[in-house]
């Protein structure tokens, strides 16, 4: 049974998250306010009946209130006070729901780690504090003596590429590296509002969690991850909500993160070399089709690639504007060139691989049930069963299925 003091803390925390005063919650539960105060101080333990009423009044799972083993993860309190204004087309309530969803995944990840008695790896990127800002964080005003945020963003990207050993080639398949080196857990969410491209949450226990809109095209998804990585390096405590679309106001922090994303995904020296090789191969020309192809090579959007080439003065400054005026449609060009835009993500790729492995292990070891597995994988129970079975079996040449235990620890193999 959960100690009374811990239960009291959870109840008080849940009340604050629900945005209720003590008086409001007391009324909902059928208490006097002084009784609720005593409960939240740990001086009075609610009865079982009262606990059920608390869960209903707070609209939380009873399990989350009373379970003994839970990580202490919670998003940074400052971030929980989400901005009251709209982000692009997205209302504050929708934002808050999305933030809560990502926080849930982050918390479940921590719970899986706690259950398996493993810690989150903390590599070199997590200790890179060269680009951290303090105080205002550059949001809204330039700090005294601050460097140009765009230049800083490019520098930061170079530093990160060096740490990850990427050289100046395209940054493909770096997700696991980012998790190992930065502790960045990236979740691709199907149910994010269309106006939000990405979210960064950070907390002492939660670590860094990034939520990316799974319904966006691949290039936009990758940009969003890189943008949030920029925030992680610069000002993680503040979190971030990245709108899918132009921002009304770009402060120093956003300038830094956009510059970081551009340089991380499309490093200047590599892009220049790639551009020159293609121009040479094209007999001195660089048709729009090559622009589409090089965007695919770096797995970024056509718009991002065109802007980058403009910024590096490799193509004329108004190229993107001109192409838009001519109603050029990059998606159709990509299809015509038979390039895969990579829009559809396989379901399991929406989660960090380590998260999935820990979930399977917890299920195998009977520390969670089938319903928990479905919740962790954001799907219905039968789909969760299928995913689990597919992960631990393979089809041999004669269509016979061979059962593997992919969660088996090789180090403990007998």
């Amino acid at each position: 049974m959960l100690p009374t003091k811990q239960l009291a803390e959870r109840l008080a925390d849940a009340r604050r998250r629900a945005g209720l005063t003590q008086a409001q919650l007391a009324e909902r539960v059928g208490f006097g306010r002084t009784t609720l105060v005593a409960v939240e101080k740990g001086e009075r333990r609610p009865s079982d009946q009262e606990l059920v009423r608390f869960a209903a009044a707070l609209e939380v799972e009873l399990h989350d209130l009373v379970r003994e083993h839970a990580s202490k993860a919670s998003a940074s309190p400052r971030f929980r006070m989400a901005p009251a204004s709209r982000v692009g087309r997205v209302a504050a309530a929708e934002q808050a729901r999305t933030v809560q969803r990502l926080e849930d995944f982050g918390r479940w990840y921590r719970d899986l780690e706690a259950g398996a008695e493993v810690g989150r790896p903390r590599g070199s990127l997590a200790q890179l504090d060269t680009y951290r800002v303090v105080g205002d964080g550059g949001r809204g005003s330039e700090g005294e003596g601050s460097l140009d945020p765009a230049s800083e963003g490019e520098d930061a990207a170079d530093a990160v590429r060096r740490i990850l050993g990427l050289g100046d080639r395209p940054a493909l398949h770096v997700r696991e590296q980012l998790e190992r080196e930065a502790g960045l857990a990236v979740f691709y969410l199907d149910d994010m509002p269309s106006g939000i491209a990405g979210i960064l949450l950070w907390g002492e226990e939660l670590g860094a969690c990034v939520g990316i809109n799974a319904r966006m095209p691949r290039g936009r998804r990758r940009w969003s991850v890189a943008h949030e990585l920029g925030h992680f390096l610069r000002d993680p405590e503040r979190g971030d909500v990245l709108p899918d679309g132009p921002m009304a106001r770009r402060d120093a922090s956003e300038v830094f993160c956009d510059a970081f994303a551009a340089a991380f995904l499309m490093p200047a020296s590599g892009v220049r070399r790639e551009f020159k090789q293609r121009v040479r191969a094209g007999g001195g020309t660089f048709p729009v089709a090559e622009l589409v192809r090089v965007a695919d090579h770096y797995q970024v959007s056509f718009e991002a690639m065109t802007r980058r080439l403009q910024d590096l003065a490799l193509i004329p400054g108004g190229t993107l504007r001109t192409l838009r005026r001519r109603s050029f449609q990059p998606d159709r060009a990509r299809d015509a060139l038979r390039l895969d835009g990579g829009r559809e993500m396989p379901h399991l790729e929406r989660f960090p691989r380590r998260y999935v492995t820990l979930a399977f292990r917890a299920f195998e070891e009977e520390r969670i049930g089938e319903g928990d597995l479905a919740r962790l994988l954001a799907c219905d129970r039968v789909t969760a069963r299928r995913i689990y079975l597919d992960a631990r079996s393979t089809t041999l040449d004669d269509d016979e299925r061979l059962d593997l235990d992919v969660s088996e620890d090789v180090l403990e193999a007998k």
Binding site: M1, L2, S47, D48, Q49, L51, V52, A55, E61, L62, H63, L65, V66, R67, E68, F363, E366, R367, I368, G369, E370, G371, D372, A374, R375, D380, R381, V382, T383, R385, R386, Y388, L389
Partner: protein, 186 residues
């Protein structure tokens, strides 16, 4: 686990899915004279099976609980204040969906139908007097009562695997029986 006597059986989402996947759930519960008792949340969570479309792609197929409810073989109940102690004890270990069904079994003295290994372990720990039964046992008992042929049983077991991706508990005493039936029918 042995098959339970006729009467009410607390059924979790896992068991409901499996029984519906057999394609013969009404026959099974009527043969055993069972009434499945569950909660609204568990019923909702037993929402989908899978099938394959004409292109062989997997599609989700909603489960229609209506026929079973109409025949009064599926009863959806709400918990009362008296169930709170069992519910809270169960919720210390189980998600609310499963804790509600566990509370039916523990608090109201019903046998529990589930194939979920974690659910079985927790309920045993909370009350080792709770009788438990799984899908294989129910199918086997119904097959006996209804005198199903080996081919009919194999078809039901095949449907369980294909439509519900059924994962039998590792220590299921009827797993060997099921394997023998399937292999014998191949």
């Amino acid at each position: 686990m042995r098959v339970v006597d006729a009467g009410s059986l607390a059924a979790d989402a896992c068991l409901l899915i499996n029984l519906f996947a057999t394609g013969r759930v009404i026959e099974v519960v009527e043969a055993l004279d069972l009434r499945l008792v569950t909660t609204e949340r568990a019923r909702r969570e037993a929402g989908f099976l899978q099938d394959r479309d004409d292109d062989g792609e997997i599609v989700k197929v909603p489960i229609d609980h209506g026929l079973l409810e109409a025949s009064r073989r599926l009863q959806v109940v709400e918990l009362h204040e008296a169930d709170a102690p069992a519910l809270v004890r169960a919720a210390e270990h189980l998600s609310d969906v499963d804790a509600h069904v566990a509370a039916l079994a523990i608090g109201r003295g019903l046998p529990l139908g589930t194939d979920d290994r974690y659910m079985r372990r927790v309920v045993s720990m909370l009350d080792d007097g709770v009788e438990m039964v799984g899908t294989f046992a129910l199918v086997r008992a119904a097959a006996d009562v209804l005198s199903w042929s080996r081919g009919e049983i194999a078809a039901v077991l095949h449907s369980l695997r294909e439509r519900a991706c059924f994962i039998p508990p590792r220590d299921d005493p009827d797993a060997a029986w099921a394997k023998a039936v399937i292999e014998g029918a191949d």
